[in-house]
């Protein structure tokens, strides 16, 4: 089940604690999943009884940014969990951001 993603929108995993906020999104619906199952908009009741599918159970880390291969989607993980983020079967990867020197 694909969802429209807008910057600032928040979603949670149906199989664990993972929560994300959208930083950047492509136009149109995206089949965003966590643990292999469609994510749920924050505020909606998640389905029960699901577990992470094999290959989508590496986990997601709080504070990390996740991107797709096309660099069209960027998510910030606001709560970590045991399931991995993906678009369909394509796992999202950690954004490779060069740290900037602190200026504050």
């Amino acid at each position: 089940m694909a969802v429209e993603l807008k910057p600032g929108a928040r979603f949670r995993s149906a199989v664990g604690e993972t929560e994300v906020v959208v930083i950047k999104a492509p136009a149109g619906a995206v089949d965003l999943r966590c643990g292999g199952h469609p994510v749920v908009p924050i505020g909606d009741e998640p389905p029960t009884g699901l577990t992470a599918e094999s290959g989508f159970d590496e986990g997601s880390q709080i504070g990390k940014r996740y991107v797709d291969g096309a660099d069209e989607l960027e998510l910030l993980c606001s709560k970590g969990g045991t399931a991995s983020l993906s678009i369909g079967a394509e796992l999202l990867v950690l954004k490779d951001a060069k740290p900037l020197p602190s200026s504050d």
Partner: protein, 500 residues
Amino acid sequence: MHVGMLLQMAADGMGERIAIGPVADGTTMAELASRARRAGTLLADMSGERVAMVDLNSEAVPIALFGAALAGKPFVPINYRLSDEQLRDLVVRTAPATVIIGEGVAERLGPIPGIELVDRKEFLVRVSDPSVEEADPYAGDPDSVAVLLYTSGTTGAPKAAVLRNRNLTAYVISTVEFAGAGEDEAAIVSVPPYHIAGISSVLSSTYSGRRVVHVETFEPRVWVDLVRAEGVTHAMVVPTMLNRILDVVAEDDGGLPTLRSLSYGGGPMPLAVIERAMALLPGVGFVNAYGLTETASTIALLGPDDHREAHASDAPDVRARLASVGRPLPTVEVEVRGVDGTVLGAGARGEIWVRGEQVAGEYEGLGSAPDDGWFNTRDEGHIDGGGFLFVHGRLDDVIVRGGENLSPGEIELVLLEHPSVEAAAVVGIPDADWGEKVVAAVVPVPGADVDEDELRAFVRAALRSTRTPERIDVREDLPFNETGKLLRRVLREELADRFG
């Protein structure tokens, strides 16, 4: 995004780290979040539509900043150093508001309709009461106004710059790695809460997990002692602070052994000062940060490696970069444009324009930046062939002498090269023949004598004669505001009286 989420992430991911105060008994990140969320509940229940603050630096600053955001009300830190009348005028503009105040402020303000005063100490007691409900950290609207900052108004009446939650969070997410600070790191905050650097330091420190040590109000000896006692690793200073800090360090020869990173910004830094700092503090990485209130802090950086490379280089164009503000952040676009709006190429001087999600460019009651997102900083600058940005000063400060545009900054930097000059400022004053004429005010190095004619000859040798000040006022100090911004309007009036 909303700043409440940044705070809650810090509490979730680094709850046991010390957020504020000494390692032994500071406030943890989890406790800071709880206090801020209680403040969110308390401030939401109060009738004020804004949360203003007239106070020195303390733990109440981050609690009020985050608490106001969670209450859905703008946080408005106000300069406590203003005259009573100016302070009162600004507080009146915030009404209806809750105003958190430090000692002696109530007496200065007197009763004001629509203003409810809350003493800082009482505020801190109330937010520490566990029976107060903690506000939902995720409920905030990203589009809501997080902070209103009165710009320093060195040329006119203060305007309130509007910073929305999405501007501030865009800056933090793109520049700071979550939990990226080592557990041993500590930042000293000596810029006042009503300065954009005071706001950004709260957010960056929280998100990076860096412990914060507050200096109530800047004094160089206190600053140096605190850096040594608290094992401070990171600091941010405005230019007027740095030389005074170096004086203390040079005098007692104690160094700043724990300090790793020193960033500076908020005004032009004389080359001689940064070179002195690099020599006195060889273990420190220096960062020059350029940003404006309206851009939610830093938009360009000259990092430690850039400093070392420029300092060590024999190539004049590379060496010159020590006076640059480095390269734009990856998430920010910068263009230098001519007065007709065309984008200028490398080396050409023009107006600095900026675009990015952190750029607000909006003033209360005056509308926002154009729809295309580009904001005119009103700073004059150029970009060199390597992409390094140089800032020459405020366009509003440009002196127009006989049709020629002169940058005060360029003349000031030459004056500062002279061994007898400690501080210098150049302004234009009305002149019957030329429209404006160039005059300067200089403060001598302690014990030095400044010879006006010799100094004028020194400038003439470096620049053209049209850029040579016709008169130079030698004086004990310059009218700076407390964040190191020269009050040019004040100086212009004083020098017009003297030399006009």
